[in-house]
Amino acid sequence: MPSITGVSARDDLPDPDGGGSLQGDSASATGRGRLGDRLFCGAARGAGVLVIALVTLIAVFLLSQALPALAKNGANFLTSTEWTVSGDNPRFGIANLLWVTIASSVIAMTIAVPVGVGVALFVTQYCPAWLSKPAAALIDLLAAVPSIVYGIWGAFVFGPHIVGLQTVLNKLLGWLPFFDNDTGSVGSSGTIFFVGIVLSIMVLPIVTALSREVFDQTPITHKEGALALGATKWEMIRTSVLPFGKPGVISASMLGLGRALGETVAVLIILSSLAADTKWSWSVFNGGETFASKIANNAAEFDSAQQTGAFIAAGLVLFILTFIVNAIARVVIERRKVFSE
């Protein structure tokens, strides 16, 4: 309905669910008839079914290998902070992993979302036309840097510079448990706080790319309407571009969050892991391990079904977390599609 909302030409393209202008060939869509047609349609559908099967298999395999280990687990899997996976009495829980994973991702998102949206607004609304494409390409370059390079850059180059900021934050906000220095590691760069900052750089291109796309699709009539009513540029953005792009931004943030939750190598390199009997602390100036870095750190220990199972159980939780986050992203953007048509 471009005539009503003034949606850009992009929306006229057929969508993946088969609505739109591809309806014309629905007569042959069933793929019955000639042998070639049947084979080809079968192969295409087979590939599609394979994709569904793969995701299902991931869940099934992880679950089936995690369950025996979980059954033998002597500690509460969700609330325990212990991690002893060998021997006859394995005791392991994910409380620590869950906390570090979520804390670092939350820090990453609180930085990446505002900056990412700002960059997207800059590229689509503020920057001169000639700069728009190169600027977008530059930000996309951030996504081309492999995560292990973020890891070594963070640990060896950026890390030493962050200690000052950590000390200042600790002095100003030390009364909050999150910025407490009870573990005495505020002077190190192997902290959850610093990992969050590096993660924010890594997810920035994801947040920016999708936000940019939706901001670009803001109906020109909305923008002109706002300007015609005397709005300043910022008021125009606040009243037309941002509301229109909101589902896209939420979706983009969710995708970024998914990436931050599952990031492995950069976290593995930067975050200093804790000794087994370290006291629990809410401080973000503390080391630790995320689900992903725990698994990668101990890849050499996968020698018995029980040990492997414990790590697979941790991987399963990570899988469920990212599944939920990505499903939310998908649902939000789907609803926008329905709404704008």
Binding site: L62, G116, F158, G230, L255, T308, N326
Partner: protein, 306 residues
Amino acid sequence: MTTMADPNQDAGARARFAAELGHQSRGRAIRNEVARIVMWAAFLIALIPLAWILWTVLSRGIALLLEPTWWTNSQRGITSRLTGGGAAHAIQGTLLMAVATALMAVPIGVMTAIYLVEYGRGKLARAVSFMVDILTGIPSIVAALFIYAVWVTTFGFQRVAFGVCLALVLLMIPVVVRSTEEMLKLVPNELREASYALGVPKWKTIARIVLPTAFSGIITGILLGLARIMGETAPLLILGPYTANIATNLFGGFMGTLPTMINTNRVESLQPAIDRTWASALTLILLILLLNLAGRLIGHFGKLKT
């Protein structure tokens, strides 16, 4: 954008005009100005890490890359105390795994995209599309664990390069599907209809008309997908042990790759190994940038003429 007056030049004039009329308060003008500065700042802040990373890797890694042995020799027999040797084994391993991965992921990805665009209707297509999105978001470590659970725990095979490829396939499929899908949707429907009108069966229309038309776009998607998986390290940590020797067997023995070469050298404290860390990081970035660039160029010059 053409219908709207250029807002950049216009903003000042309009602000003055409105101020004369007494409609625009000072506060609004200031807020407008602040917003603009904030957006510029966001962009410039985002550029800092990019420039910093690229400069770090370039300045610390370039020296070794300029030595011809870097491209021709392996690290065989070279300890962290010694200089010399090269990354040939790692470059070769990375490329070999990338090719093997592409050989598996591309057919599946392209066929899935064909299904979604040309055949898919109703519940199954929605489910496939949803699962592709889920696959996009799967952390590489989970993909690696899954393959480990199948390949090593269930079938009892060794940890070999091919297992890494299987994990990478999972990560590459969604990239190929999404980009191919976009390209297939750009193929004008008139082409399909003209083909049907001539009595060409649907499968032949897709294979001979639709795919060739979208070819360059599909290649772009494949190259971008390769760029994504080449830098993945997590599956290599779980499934692909590193070796300093040249290895060509995907199904047996260890195989060196650039990410694992970085990972092996980064823990060393001696200067030759540190140099090699940055040099292999630079090599990896160059390789990925090259693929990205090639993908974008093909996408740019092979753009659909509609």
